[in-house]
C-alpha cells in the first residue's frame, strides 16, 4: 500500500494485489450505495463489526483508513488540519487521521476516491480521548455516535495462556461481569441499529456471520503456523500485514473467509515449491507494534545485505489467535461479547501481551525483536530473559515527525549486526 515512500514494497503474493483491488472496488460500490441513501458506518477496529455484518450495514475501520492516508503520505496535512481546527495533532493519531482528512476538505488529494459521509460512528471507550474524538467526528458529519462501554479486568491473578483458553473456554477465562456488560451493550446496539436503519436483525444470519468469522480465523491460524514453521520464510511480514488486515475488516463474510483460505493456499504453495522471500535468510525478526504503512518497503531493505527478514507482525498474529470464539451451544451474542471484551488486551495488557509475544517469538524462531511505539517493558523483559534481543523505538507510526526511514534503518542495521546476527549464528552453529 505504500505509495510514494522512499521504499516501494515488492509484491510477494498475487492475492495481496487482488485484496487491494477488491477493497478499492468495494469502497466505490459503498460510495454509490451511500449516495443512494444506504447507511454507512465508520468503526474502530475493536468495535463489534459482526453486528453490522449481520445487518448488512457496510463499514470502514478508521485505523485502516488511517493506514491508507499514511500510505498516500497525506498524514502530515491531516494532522495540520486537526491542529488548525483546535484539536490536538499528537493524540489518538492512528484513529484521528480520518477526521483530519474530513477537516482538510481537499477532495483532489483524498485517497481511493474518499470515504462516504458516515451515518453511524462507533468505538469502545478504551482510551481517554477516543470518545471525544468520535464525538467531534459526529459533530462534523452529523453521524450518530454509539460508544461501546469497555470494562477493565480487576482480577489480580489472570490465566496467561489466553490463546489456548479463549476459543472454547472464554466464559471461564474472562469471568461473567464483563461478559454481562458487553452482551448488554450488544443488545442495546442491535436495538439502536434496527430502529435507526429500519433493518431487521436475524439470529440465523448472525449465527452464520459468527461461523464464517471463526472459519476465517482458522485459516489465519493455519497460515500463521505455516509461516512460523518454515525456514527460510515463504513470505515477509510486510506482505502479510496487508494480506491479513484488509480481509479482517470483511470478517464474517464469505469473501473474507475465502480470501483467508486463498492466502493460506498461496503461502503453502510457496512453501511446497521452496520459494522464499529471502533465500539467504540468516536472521528472523519480529515487528512488535503498528505497521509503517507509509513505508511498507522499509521492512525488506535488510534482506539482501543482512539476510534479515521480518517474519512476524501482530496483524497475522492477532488474526490467528485473538478472534476465535466457539459458541459450543452457548448464546452467539455472548460468544461475540467474549471476542470483544478482551480486544486489545491481548496486545497491550502485559499479563497477556508479554507471554504471547514470547510464545509467538519462539514459535516463529525469531532471533530479534523490533518494538516500535509499544508499551513493551514487560514483553522486553520476558523476551530478553529468553535470550531474544529487543530494539525498542519510541515513535508513532503515522506521525513522520517522530521517525524517519534513514535513522530507523541505521538503528536496525546496528541492532541486527551487533546483537541479533551473532546470536542467530551461535544458535545455528
Amino acid at each position: 500500500m505504500a505509495e510514494g515512500s522512499a521504499f516501494t514494497r515488492r509484491s510477494e503474493l498475487a492475492i495481496t494485489g487482488e485484496i487491494v483491488a477488491h477493497q478499492r472496488e468495494w469502497l466505490a460500490e459503498v460510495r454509490d450505495q451511500v449516495a443512494g441513501g444506504e447507511p454507512f458506518a465508520l468503526l474502530s477496529a475493536d468495535a463489534p463489526h459482526e453486528i453490522y455484518r449481520a445487518f448488512d450495514i457496510p463499514y470502514v475501520v478508521v485505523q485502516w483508513w488511517s493506514s491508507v492516508i499514511a500510505a498516500r503520505q497525506r498524514a502530515p496535512q491531516c494532522l495540520a488540519a486537526l491542529r488548525a481546527a483546535g484539536y490536538p495533532d499528537d493524540r489518538e493519531q492512528y484513529s484521528a487521521l480520518g477526521l483530519g482528512e474530513l477537516l482538510l476538505d481537499d477532495p483532489s488529494g483524498t485517497p481511493w476516491g474518499g470515504l462516504p459521509v458516515p451515518t453511524i460512528l462507533s468505538a469502545p471507550t478504551t482510551s481517554d480521548g477516543i470518545r471525544k474524538l468520535f464525538e467531534a467526528w459526529s459533530t462534523h458529519t452529523g453521524a450518530a455516535f454509539y460508544p461501546i462501554e469497555h470494562a477493565v479486568d480487576p482480577r489480580l491473578d489472570l490465566p496467561r495462556d489466553w490463546w489456548e483458553r479463549l476459543p472454547h473456554h472464554w466464559d471461564e477465562c474472562l469471568g461473567p461481569e464483563r461478559l454481562d456488560l458487553m452482551a448488554d451493550e450488544l443488545r442495546g446496539l442491535i436495538g439502536v441499529l434496527a430502529a435507526t436503519t429500519g433493518r431487521s436483525f436475524s439470529e440465523a444470519r448472525f449465527a452464520e456471520v459468527m461461523a464464517l468469522a471463526n472459519e476465517h480465523a482458522e485459516w489465519n491460524r493455519k497460515t500463521r503456523d505455516l509461516i512460523a514453521a518454515t525456514v527460510p520464510v515463504p513470505v515477509s511480514a510486510a506482505e502479510t500485514m496487508t494480506a491479513a488486515m484488509i480481509p479482517q475488516w470483511h470478517r464474517g463474510s464469505e469473501w473474507g473467509r475465502d480470501t483467508a483460505r486463498r492466502f493460506y493456499d498461496e503461502v503453502a504453495a510457496r512453501r511446497d515449491a521452496s520459494q522464499s522471500v529471502c533465500p539467504s535468510e540468516r536472521v528472523r525478526l519480529m515487528w512488535l507494534g503498528r505497521a509503517l504503512w507509509s513505508s511498507l518497503g522499509f521492512y525488506r531493505q535488510f534482506e539482501e545485505a543482512h539476510g534479515a527478514v521480518f517474519v512476524w507482525s501482530m496483524y497475522l498474529g492477532v488474526a490467528a489467535d485473538a478472534y476465535l470464539r466457539y459458541p459450543d451451544g452457548r448464546d452467539p451474542l455472548r460468544t461475540l461479547a467474549a471476542r470483544f471484551v478482551p480486544m486489545g488486551e491481548e496486545i497491550r495488557m502485559p499479563s497477556w501481551s508479554a507471554p504471547w509475544h514470547l510464545k509467538e517469538a519462539q514459535l516463529h524462531q525469531v532471533d530479534g525483536v523490533v518494538s516500535f511505539g509499544e508499551d513493551d517493558y514487560f514483553s522486553t523483559r520476558l523476551l530478553e530473559a529468553a535470550g531474544i534481543p529487543v530494539l525498542s523505538v519510541r515513535a508513532t507510526n503515522v506521525d513522520r515527525r517522530t521517525w524517519d526511514e534513514a535513522s530507523l534503518g541505521a538503528l536496525l542495521v546496528e541492532f541486527i549486526e551487533e546483537q541479533v546476527r551473532p546470536r542467530a549464528e551461535r544458535l545455528r552453529a
Binding site: A85, G86, Y87, P88, R91, E92, T125, T126, S127, D128, G129, R131, K132, L133, E135, A136, T139, P147, E149, H150, A151, V152, P154, L156, D157, E177, R178, D180, L181, D184, E185, G188, M349, P350, S351, A354, D375, D376, Y377, F378
Partner: protein, 411 residues
C-alpha cells in the same frame, strides 16, 4: 481507632484532629479564631497525609490509600477504614528518595511518580491501596503494578482496582453495582467488618454534610469580589480528601466562620487536567488573578451530593457514575456543557485550559469550549505544560496570555 469503633463517632470525631495522644503540636488542633488556624490545619493535612495516616493508625485504625477521584470513599469509611487520597505530585516532595523522569513502563509522569514512591517505600503509611479508573493511565498503572507484584518486585500490599464505567446507560449502571458490591467485599476483608447498610447510610450522611460545607465555601468563590481564592479552596478540598469526615467538617466550619478577606482580581476558571499541587494555582493567583472555580477533581469536581436511596449503595454508585464529569473518560458534549455552565456560574472572565503533556483527553474539548463560551463573551486560553507544572518562564507566559485574552495585546 479500631475497626469495631462505633461508626458514627468515628465519622464525627476520629482522626488526628480529635486524637489526644498525638505527636503534633496542640495548636494544630485547637479551633482557634483567626484564619491562621484553619489554614495551618488544612495545609498540614494537605502536605502531610502521612502524618494524618500515622495518627489514625496509632489509634488502631487502618488506612486505605486511594489513587484517583472515582472511588466511593464513603464505602471505605463505612467499612471503618480511613480513605486518604494520594497525590503523586505531593508524594514527590516526601522525604523518601522518589525519582521522577522517564518511565520504563511508559506510564504517565504522575503514575510513574506514584509507582516510584511505592517502590521506594514512601507509602509505608497506607495499609491497602485502591486504584480508581479515573483515566486509562490508572488502568495502565494497575496492569504494571499487578505484574510487578506477581514478579515479587513491588512491596506486598492489599490492592484493589475499582472499575467504574462512565457511559450513562442502564448496562453501565448495573455493571457498576456489581463492581461496587465486589469492592465492598474487598473492603470487608481489609477491615474485618462488612460495610453494612446502616454504616453506609451514616457514611453517606457525613459525606453530604461535608458537601454542604464545601458548597458554602464555593458560594464564597462566586461572590464579587471572591471571598476565597483558588489556592485556599484547593487546600480545603485536598484536606477534605485526607481527613476523616468529622475532622473535615470542623475544619470547613472554621474556614466558613472566619474566611479570609475578599480577594480582588480578574476572575479565572481553570479547566483541563487535574493538578494535584498548588504550584499552578499559586502562580496564576500570584500574577494578580483569582481562580473562582475549576472543573478537575482536586477542586470543585471532588464533591457532590450522594442521593438518598433505599439501598444506599445505589445512591453511592449513581453519585460516582453520573456525577460531575472529569476530562478523561467522559463525552465531549457532557464535559463542555459542564465546564461552560460552571465557568459562567462562577462569573469567570476567562477560562484557562491547562493540559499536561501526557493527558490524552482535555485538548479535544477546546474547540467546543471555545465556541460555547465565545457566545457569552468569555475567552478561553489554553496551555500545555509538563506535569506537575511549568517552569517560571512558562508560567509567566501563561499570565501574559491571560492578560492578552482579557485586554488585548496592548492591555
Amino acid at each position: 481507632m479500631s475497626a469495631s469503633t462505633d461508626l458514627l463517632s468515628a465519622l464525627r470525631v476520629e482522626g488526628p484532629l480529635a486524637t489526644n495522644d498525638n505527636s503534633l503540636p496542640e495548636e494544630e488542633f485547637r479551633l482557634l479564631p483567626g484564619p491562621a488556624d484553619w489554614l495551618d490545619r488544612a495545609t498540614h493535612a494537605y502536605r502531610h497525609p502521612d502524618a494524618v495516616a500515622r495518627e489514625w493508625r496509632e489509634g488502631g485504625g487502618r488506612v486505605v490509600g486511594v489513587l484517583g477521584h472515582d472511588v466511593p470513599r464513603e464505602l471505605v469509611l463505612a467499612a471503618g477504614l480511613l480513605p486518604i487520597r494520594l497525590a503523586p505530585a505531593r508524594l514527590l516532595s516526601n522525604d523518601a528518595p522518589v525519582v521522577g523522569g522517564d518511565s520504563p513502563l511508559q506510564l504517565t509522569p504522575d503514575c510513574q511518580a506514584f509507582l516510584d514512591a511505592l517502590l521506594a517505600g514512601a507509602l509505608g503509611w497506607i495499609d491497602a491501596l485502591v486504584i480508581g479508573r479515573d483515566s486509562e493511565s490508572h488502568t495502565k498503572l494497575f496492569y504494571g503494578l499487578r505484574e510487578l507484584l506477581a514478579m515479587g518486585e513491588a512491596p506486598r500490599l492489599d490492592l484493589c482496582f475499582y472499575d467504574l464505567v462512565r457511559l450513562p446507560t442502564e448496562a453501565s449502571a448495573r455493571y457498576n453495582r456489581v463492581r461496587t458490591r465486589q469492592f465492598a467485599e474487598v473492603l470487608a476483608t481489609w477491615s474485618g467488618a462488612a460495610p453494612w447498610q446502616d454504616a453506609m447510610r451514616a457514611s453517606v450522611a457525613a459525606s453530604n454534610a461535608t458537601t454542604t460545607l464545601l458548597e458554602e465555601l464555593a458560594d464564597l468563590r462566586r461572590a464579587r469580589p471572591a471571598g476565597l481564592g483558588g489556592v485556599d479552596a484547593l487546600l480545603l478540598d485536598g484536606a477534605a480528601m485526607t481527613l476523616a469526615p468529622g475532622a473535615t467538617q470542623d475544619l470547613l466550619t472554621a474556614a466558613l466562620a472566619d474566611p479570609p478577606p475578599p480577594r480582588p482580581g480578574r476572575r479565572v476558571f481553570v479547566s483541563g487536567s487535574p493538578h494535584d499541587d498548588l504550584a499552578l494555582a499559586g502562580a496564576i493567583e500570584g500574577a494578580g488573578y483569582v481562580i473562582v472555580g475549576e472543573d478537575h477533581d482536586w477542586g470543585d469536581r471532588s464533591f457532590a451530593v450522594v442521593p438518598e436511596t433505599a439501598d444506599p449503595l445505589d445512591g453511592l454508585v449513581d453519585r460516582y457514575h453520573l456525577g460531575p464529569p472529569g476530562a478523561a473518560r467522559t463525552g465531549l458534549d457532557e464535559r463542555a456543557r459542564y465546564t461552560c455552565h460552571q465557568a459562567l456560574a462562577r462569573g469567570a472572565e476567562v477560562v484557562l485550559q491547562l493540559c499536561f503533556d501526557h493527558d490524552e483527553s482535555p485538548e479535544w474539548e477546546f474547540p467546543d469550549l471555545r465556541d460555547r463560551l465565545a457566545a457569552h463573551g468569555v475567552p478561553v486560553v489554553r496551555a500545555r505544560l509538563p506535569w506537575p507544572g511549568g517552569d517560571p518562564g512558562s508560567l509567566a507566559r501563561l499570565a501574559q496570555d491571560l492578560s492578552t485574552a482579557l485586554d488585548g495585546p496592548d492591555g
